[in-house]
Symmetry: C2
Subunit: 295 residues, 2 copies
């Protein structure tokens, strides 16, 4: 029986509506949710992303500001900008566009962002607080996967979950978030010997490797839940007559015949990630109204 | 063929000697390695541990100071003490004895310790920096397991490693450290369905569940490496005629006939953990001589 397809766009629209009314409620209390993004240099994809984000923020009433530093800015200049945003009480969320130019120390910059304003959850403190089960802000992809599983009413404790991919932005934060839910979590990478042996037993399979359509039906247990976090651009292939397209890490047509629940690409995890990022921005503004537990 | 037994006491003695000469070298440069421990209330095991630690520090020239707060101290008093130690340049390492009395916020206290002085690596920042592969101070049990595997010249990348136990102090930090080494890491807990299915395929099995002798030969692949992090006190059993004893999570007599390499309890991971903690105290003093990468 083909899998139920999780429509990320529908879920993200629900979250967007909730976000919008929460921003309005905060405004009624005199609180403006504000998101300050930092871009260093002129990375094309970063600028496209920033414009799209600005539109999304404005559409629900979040005050979005973009700060750009020249491509030759040094660590001190970047840290000084972050310090300013940290200490400005009007700034409730900070986003640092990655990758930074190579000469900059990205971990040191992430570390410098106030954990309460770090809405992407990239500050090592936020990683550690998620690890301890006392999160302030958690990485968005981990939140998105969690939201999707939650929405589908999937119990996580005791489940066999395999995460394919151990990247710092996606695979590892997801694994950490699921360990915090007391799932049995197997994390694999490109050095994993016999990947299939690790994926075949999974009740929930999370593909976060960034390798187009690498997960086939043979990797998947009958009835498994498959969450595809990959977003890969595949160029047109004239020989095969296929156009340029965006695919996930999962061979959807095949795997969707075997899984019980599956997210498509595009239209699965991606839109939910965008929506939960703004949700985090609102949560962050809210938390800054209260007392800081972690100073 | 019976397993080679890793003698943790021998390894810890090697580390102790290296520690001693490093403390002397630092003293020659005018740097005193100093370790300030905090105990709240009068927890019996904490005080025994502190006295033993004091002796170990003194024997290699580390200046050990114990700070005690009354059992009814509040979060502000604890934070004030930590702030003082953070800002005192003579203090190079801080140890907070756990568990704290229930009314105190342990994560907030751990968070308050300067990551450069947090020699147990419990500050969420230090967990996150280990996650990113840019550690300042890492949790001692994770360091001890890593040191043992390193000493035995075990390649970690691509290895199937199963960690049984997902506690914040032992199981989870070990899993995180091994993921940072690009191993394939499966983490299990008491809710794991069919634990054997997860342990039987492991090249390296790490037992950190705190359940006496739960890992039997049936759990272990022929030739696997077995690291036993459990330390469990088992009372005397008059019916069976067995005395009170300390055992690990692994049924040693059985498993040692099947594994290729194994750590005993006592005398395995335990003494190495003690030695690497003091090594961390020395590393911390050393790092505080340089420029802070993470402010």
């Amino acid at each position: 029986m083909p899998a139920k397809i999780i429509q990320g766009r529908d879920l993200s629209e629900q979250i967007r509506q909730r976000n919008e009314s929460r921003v309005r409620e905060l405004a009624d209390k005199g609180v403006t949710v504000r998101l300050d993004a930092i871009i260093v240099g002129e990375p094309e994809s970063g600028i496209i992303y920033a414009r799209s984000q600005e539109r999304k923020c404005q559409s629900i009433g979040i005050d979005y500001r973009l700060h750009t530093l020249p491509g030759n800015a040094n660590d001190n200049e970047l840290q000084a900008l972050i310090d300013n945003l940290n200490s400005d009480p009007n700034v409730t969320g900070i986003l640092l566009n990655l990758p930074l130019p190579n000469h900059l120390d990205a971990p040191a910059a992430q570390y410098a962002i106030d954990p309460y304003k770090d809405i992407e959850g990239v500050n090592p403190s936020n990683i550690g607080l998620m690890f301890y089960g006392t999160p302030i802000n958690a990485p968005c992809t981990a939140l998105a996967v969690h939201t999707i599983l939650n929405e589908a009413k999937v119990e996580l404790r005791g489940k066999n979950i395999t995460v394919v991919g151990q990247g710092n932005i996606v695979g590892k934060p997801i694994a950490l978030a699921l360990i915090a839910e007391e799932a049995t979590v197997d994390t694999c990478n490109k050095y994993t010997d016999n990947l299939m042996a690790h994926t075949k037993g999974a009740d929930i399979l999370i593909a976060a490797a960034g390798v187009p359509e690498m997960i086939t039906a043979d990797h998947v247990k009958e009835g498994a839940i498959v969450i595809d976090v990959g977003i890969n651009s595949v160029p047109a292939d004239e020989a095969k007559g296929t156009p340029a397209r965006v695919v996930g890490d999962v061979l959807f047509d095949e795997v969707s015949q075997k899984a019980s629940l599956i997210t498509p690409v595009p239209g699965g995890v991606g839109p939910v990630t965008v929506a939960v990022l703004l949700q985090s921005a609102i949560d962050a503004a809210n938390k800054q109204l209260g007392t800081r537990r972690f100073r």
